[in-house]
């Protein structure tokens, strides 16, 4: 029998005992629904986590420091590679070199310093950090009130919520911080801050007149000099960010942010400047650390290795993300197993239904054999019935699972909203899961049809015809 005929006869037979076959199909669809629900929960949670992690900038960032920077120096690093004193300086050409490595999105210097900001003539001491333009997409700035910097050189600042509270003279309440950022931002946006900072200026030959060094001292570091000049810079408050300054977010661990271009142009005296003799007199910017953003967390290791080969120290939280991925793999397997349990019950349901159908249709099988149906024809017919139930159950199961997911998603978001968290989409049914679920249901049903179909095919026609 050819396939269209098989399908036609199978569907006709399924319709003949509609109630029983519908119940079996519902059983399959519940099984598939639970599988789909479990797996899409797993996938959704994983996507949510990796979306959050990706945006946090934690997992695609490599922090590069010079070996000359003796802080955070591990023994292992000491053994491998050049000695600190012989290693390369992390300066502008090096930064550009790193930026041109494959898979690197950008490499920007980590500029942060502690200084004084005046607001309405009251001084406030705080840490200031520079942000590259790409930080706009960082989820730390998702809830920013106002806007992001208008340009990389704009004399603008974004404040942390806590600092905004300080400027307004509010003290944060203990416990859950529920201050409305919009309320905080309203009186501050567009106002001016006065930043006082220490600018490092390489000494000009004229100012070096008092040096004992020879005239060619430009090339010699001995006797190099720089001066520190106190400067002021007006800043407009562009935005207030709703984030926790204590949270572990590399570049965002500061209370006030400036655009990177502006911060670089200021040549602010950095704490490391005092230690680094070589950079003191250099006209080229030298950085204590450079943040490298990689295209994809999976390429972090490669980029790290490449930078290490250049003779720098690197740091990333790659290992943490690896174990998180592993956790989700295990979670997926567990969810799939639980989801499959319902399908296993459905499997038994199919076997039962088809065995019952054989008993009921014994005579019919006998007739078909008497008029020329082969064992294979009978077997394929039962297979087709099992398969049809599988496909129908699979499709309705995916729909049911999807609907179930939507309901749970909705319910959870209502709960999240009551707890004043933003809604999340942690339920994902990718197209491959739909295909996989229908196919899986089809295959499971065929497997369930294996025994009944074999039994029907082996039926002795003489006996079957005698059966009333």
């Amino acid at each position: 029998m050819n396939l269209p005929d098989l399908a036609e006869l199978a569907v006709r037979n399924l319709r003949e005992s509609l109630l029983r076959n519908s119940l079996t199909t519902i059983g399959i669809s519940v099984g598939v629904a639970s599988l789909v629900a479990m797996l899409s929960l797993g996938i959704g949670l994983q996507q949510l986590a990796s979306r959050r992690l990706m945006k946090s900038g934690l997992f695609d960032t490599v922090v590069v420091t010079s070996r000359r920077d003796l802080r955070n120096f591990s023994r292992e690093e000491e053994r491998n590679g050049p000695a600190p004193a012989e290693s390369r300086i992390l300066d502008e050409p090096t930064r550009r070199e790193i930026e041109h490595l494959p898979n690197v999105l950008e490499a920007y210097p980590d500029i942060r310093f502690i200084t004084e900001l005046r607001y309405e003539d009251k001084p406030h001491l705080t840490t200031i950090a520079a942000l590259p333009a790409s930080a706009k997409s960082n989820d730390a700035f998702e809830g920013v009130q106002g806007r992001f910097f208008s340009s990389d050189m704009a004399p603008e600042a974004i404040l942390q919520k806590a600092f905004a509270e300080e400027l307004l003279g509010k003290t944060p309440k203990p416990g859950l911080d529920e201050t409305n950022v919009a309320e905080l931002a309203a009186p501050l946006l567009g106002k001016e801050l006065m930043m006082r900072y220490a600018q490092r200026e390489a000494a000009t030959p004229a100012t070096r007149a008092y040096d004992n060094a020879p005239a060619s001292g430009n090339e010699s570091l001995a006797g190099a000099a720089y001066s520190v000049v106190s400067r002021e810079q007006k800043l407009k408050i562009a935005g207030v960010a709703d984030l926790d300054p204590e949270s572990m977010r590399g570049p965002t661990r500061a209370r006030v942010f400036l655009p990177l271009g502006l911060a670089e142009s200021l040549h602010v005296m950095q704490p490391t400047d005092l230690r680094e003799i070589s950079r003191a007199a250099s006209d080229q910017p030298v950085y204590s650390s450079v943040n490298v953003r990689v295209k994809n967390p999976s390429q972090v290791q490669k980029v790290e290795d490449a930078i290490k080969k250049m003779g720098f120290n690197t740091f990333s939280i790659l290992d943490a993300s690896r174990s998180i991925q592993q956790f989700f793999k295990v979670l997926d397997v567990f969810l799939a197993i639980f989801g499959s349990l319902a399908l296993a019950v459905a499997f038994i349901g199919i076997v039962n239904t088809l065995v019952m159908a054989i008993l009921e249709r014994r005579r019919e099988i006998g007739i078909m054999k008497a008029i020329g149906a082969s064992d294979g024809d009978v077997k394929r017919l039962f297979f087709a019935e099992a398969g049809a139930m599988g496909i129908l159950g699979g499709i309705s199961g995916v729909a049911l699972g999807w609907a179930l997911g939507q309901v749970i998603n909705l319910g959870t978001n209502i709960y999240l909203q009551r707890q004043s968290f933003p809604p999340e989409h942690f339920w994902s049914v990718p197209w491959w899961l739909v295909l996989f679920a229908v196919l899986f249901s089809f295959l499971v049903s065929l497997a369930a049809g294996l025994y009944p179909a074999g039994r029907a095919a082996r039926l002795d026609p003489v006996q079957a015809l005698r059966y009333e």
Partner: protein, 263 residues
């Protein structure tokens, strides 16, 4: 399928050559401790185009012989050869193909599939033979027209009388153009009038299409009226084999009508 399977007409002129040849045919069943010899050393030869009646009381083994000829059952020993094919040596698959193309069967209880319409019942063997849909439709109509049921082709068997059901079963038996028509008490569930109607059709197939007919019955009168040859069975053994001269004398085109009146 081969074209020879589909054209029994071509075998019609070959009347006289053996269509069925059974030798020392045995079919034994084990029922608990007892061994039942349903068929016990039957030797039988049926010529192509012959109309043979297998007669005997119930339990005489006549249906078992028919099932062996039909390829529904396999002999315990001995052989049954149909058109030079030894059925005992065929595989299950080959036997199914043999049933599909060489044999048409009608039963006492009609054996139509209740969930299908007449047209679907009649075309079912062609589905197994993988005949394509358009051809199937026209052949099924043709067969139903032949038994006078074209108007009822979309009815289910339960909506029809017994005689109509048996006519549909005949149409189904005919559909793959088999050489052999095997009938197991075809009139057993019918009143005598409809029984005659059916028997006339069977004879028509025998005479016009040249089909070899083997009919199982326990009604001697019926057998004498239609069969050319009467074979008697008792306890699984062949106990008599006589040719029926009365029937050969009155075969004719006017026969169908006069038979109906005589009852």
């Amino acid at each position: 399928m081969s074209s020879t399977d589909r054209s029994p007409q071509s075998s019609a002129p070959a009347i006289g050559i053996p269509a069925i040849h059974a030798e020392r045919l045995c079919r034994h069943y084990r029922m608990g401790e007892a061994l039942i010899r349903a068929v016990d050393g039957v030797a039988l030869e049926v010529r192509a185009g012959e109309f043979v009646a297998l007669l005997g009381s119930s339990g005489s083994g006549k249906s078992s012989v028919l099932n062996l000829i039909a390829g529904l059952d396999r002999p315990t020993s001995g052989s049954v050869t149909v058109h030079e094919r030894n059925l005992a040596k065929l595989s299950r698959e080959e036997l199914a193909r043999y049933r599909l193309h060489t044999v048409g069967m009608v039963f006492q209880s009609f054996n139509l599939i209740a969930s299908m319409t007449l047209a679907e019942n009649v075309e079912l063997p062609m589905r197994f033979a993988e005949v394509d849909r358009g051809k199937r439709d026209s052949l099924a109509r043709e067969a139903l027209a032949r038994v006078g049921l074209l108007a009822r082709m979309n009815h289910r068997p339960s909506e029809l009388s017994g005689g109509e059901q048996q006519r549909a079963a005949l149409a189904r038996a005919l559909i793959n153009r088999p050489r052999l028509l095997l009938a197991d008490e075809p009139t057993g569930n019918l009143d005598s009038r409809t029984g005659t109607e059916i028997m006339n059709m069977v004879r028509e197939f025998n005479q016009q299409l040249g089909m070899t007919v083997v009919m199982v019955t326990h009604e001697r009168a019926l057998a004498e009226r239609y069969a050319e040859r009467l074979v008697f069975l008792a306890d699984g053994k062949l106990v008599g084999d006589e040719s029926n001269s009365t029937v050969t004398a009155n075969t004719g085109s006017d026969h169908a009508g006069s038979d109906g009146e005589r009852l």
